[in-house]
Symmetry: C2
Subunit: 330 residues, 2 copies
């Protein structure tokens, strides 16, 4: 467990998607967040007080969380001084980057000197087996996406909450650094050695009671040229009984690359087809529409999509999710 509350570091965030780690913690764990810190060039911010490191400490802050991501997860030069100042001021640091905090000598030395912790959430000491493909007991739902960063984690967390509200047994299973920060457990699958992707998910979601649901956070997209391998290993290791397709209707290009977004129909058919390898009964039970960037028309669009696919289309952050739950229970 990481000492709380947190100061969320946004660096020079290039857009809203870049601060999804900070925004996720802010949204799901508001009681853990004391403030935010960012550079002048930042293009995205949170609805939290802006604070210097000194002010954050005066407000009881214990840990600065790197709440901004960049493709590749490398530590930019421009962040070094701020992180070093935080360490030297006595804050712990938590990061989900591929670059380990402790691999940067200045951080390591300063952390030792100031007796603070460096949390590298993308890494864990657990060793995994290669996936077996053997069917496990208990039930599983996976959130998949038409792209990266479309709402797979929020959808999974919202479904976990809705299932519990309906008196069902459900556990959110985090597979990315933000999810791990929110749940304080889980595995950042994209940091696992690739031989063990599906094996790590088998470990993350082991045998369970017949009426228990693991709600597994999806990663990437089967249609994303950078990350489809991770998405497929995660699908095979999850062996989902049910899945929900997450979609952001204002997105035209896939995140960070030149490819167009796939149709929802393609995502449903490809996920079903490839998922059958480890669970022949895999079934799509809904479409989660992230309408946060839509100013109007979202109700019509949800109805249109729902009619087209004959399954509920809901915004997991705005709508009652009973429509999903009823199909999951079936």
């Amino acid at each position: 467990m990481i000492s709380k509350p947190y100061l969320l570091f946004l660096g020079e965030a290039k857009d809203e998607l870049a601060i999804k780690t900070a925004a996720g913690i802010r949204f799901w764990r508001p009681e853990w967040c004391v403030g935010q810190i960012f550079f002048e060039s930042a293009k995205a911010k949170l609805d939290l007080p802006e604070m210097s490191i000194k002010q954050a400490i005066e407000n009881g802050c214990k840990t600065m969380v790197i709440g901004v991501v960049n493709a590749g997860g490398v530590m930019p030069e421009s962040w070094i001084n701020t992180i070093l100042e935080a360490i030297n001021s006595g804050l712990n640091i938590a990061s989900g980057m591929h670059t380990r905090l402790s691999s940067i000598k200045e951080f390591k030395d300063a952390a030792e000197k100031n007796n603070v912790q460096l949390y590298d959430l993308r890494f864990n000491e657990q060793t995994f087996k290669t996936g077996s493909g053997i069917k496990r007991t208990g039930k599983r739902l996976l959130t998949v996406g038409t792209d990266c960063s479309v709402g797979k984690k929020y959808t999974a967390l919202a479904i976990e909450k809705a299932m519990k509200d309906h008196g069902m047994k459900a556990s959110f299973k985090a597979t990315g650094q933000t999810g791990v920060l929110i749940a304080e457990s889980g595995i950042a699958i994209d940091a696992i050695v690739s031989d063990f992707i599906s094996g790590a998910v088998e470990w993350l979601s082991p045998d369970n009671a017949d009426n228990h649901w693991d709600i597994i956070e999806g990663q990437g997209s089967l249609f994303h040229p950078s990350f489809a391998g991770v998405s497929l290993g995660l699908l095979h290791g999850s062996q989902p009984d049910k899945f929900i397709v997450c979609h952001e209707p204002t997105r035209t290009n896939m995140r960070g690359v030149e490819n167009k977004l796939p149709d929802i129909s393609e995502v449903i058919s490809k996920t079903s087809e490839l998922g059958k390898l480890t669970n022949p009964n895999i079934e799509c039970v809904g479409i989660a529409l992230n309408t946060s960037n839509m100013s109007n028309g979202s109700e019509d669009l949800k109805k249109e999509i729902s009619d087209k696919y004959s399954i509920p289309c809901l915004d997991p952050l705005k709508d009652d999710l009973s429509g999903f739950i009823n199909l999951i229970k079936k």
Copy 2:
């Protein structure tokens, strides 16, 4: 470059597939191999003189290569003493396991004391970007499989050789530990952090001349529940113009798991369908049949398969490969 010649270590090899690293080096680089060493319980051996470590050194051996694999790539207790004896006798050690030789303190200390090298081929210090999906210049051929360990590497090496014999420009690109040992370059893709699978392959096979072919060694199978994620990331990063399906017709179950082998037709259609994401012109140009376990009927079977799919079906270790080359050239 690793000092040669080699003593190939087979441990308690459980079957022929377990010694595929040793067999690959023996087959493609016979001039590098001085002998083999194995335990009494070994169920597979090579056609090489059996030697003790002492005898190998008397025969000029410089390096002992761990030529046997086990799922997960962990170092068994039972190997420790033999490897330690080799180090203490002055041999370098080369290994493609997930367990780093240098992570075992006894090995590290003994290597320092005896001034020998520990080569961990599954690791390299190269850092990668996430895949971009952007089309590169030059041509690429990928070998894919109905399963793991069906002949993807041998096929790629045989095609490289045949293309050169036909006066074409071709480079074998190794993606597994055995391939890296044979080519003395390349990347063990299954040891890459999963976020970078496709990016690493983009790095391995960069822009090249229009008439140059990279012949990329495939890994795993899109139908293998343990490794399909790796296979998909490799497919997307390779952006192959052409691919060849490798098949071992006597195999009934997929390696190490309970799943049945897919049909060749399924492998062709799924590879084409998923490969289109990064190369819309992807095309299957042949089927490589590994007939090494067939005592008879292989000619009939090749003809049957070739007729069924209207592309050449050849054993890359026995047949003239002009049939493949002609379709590659088209």
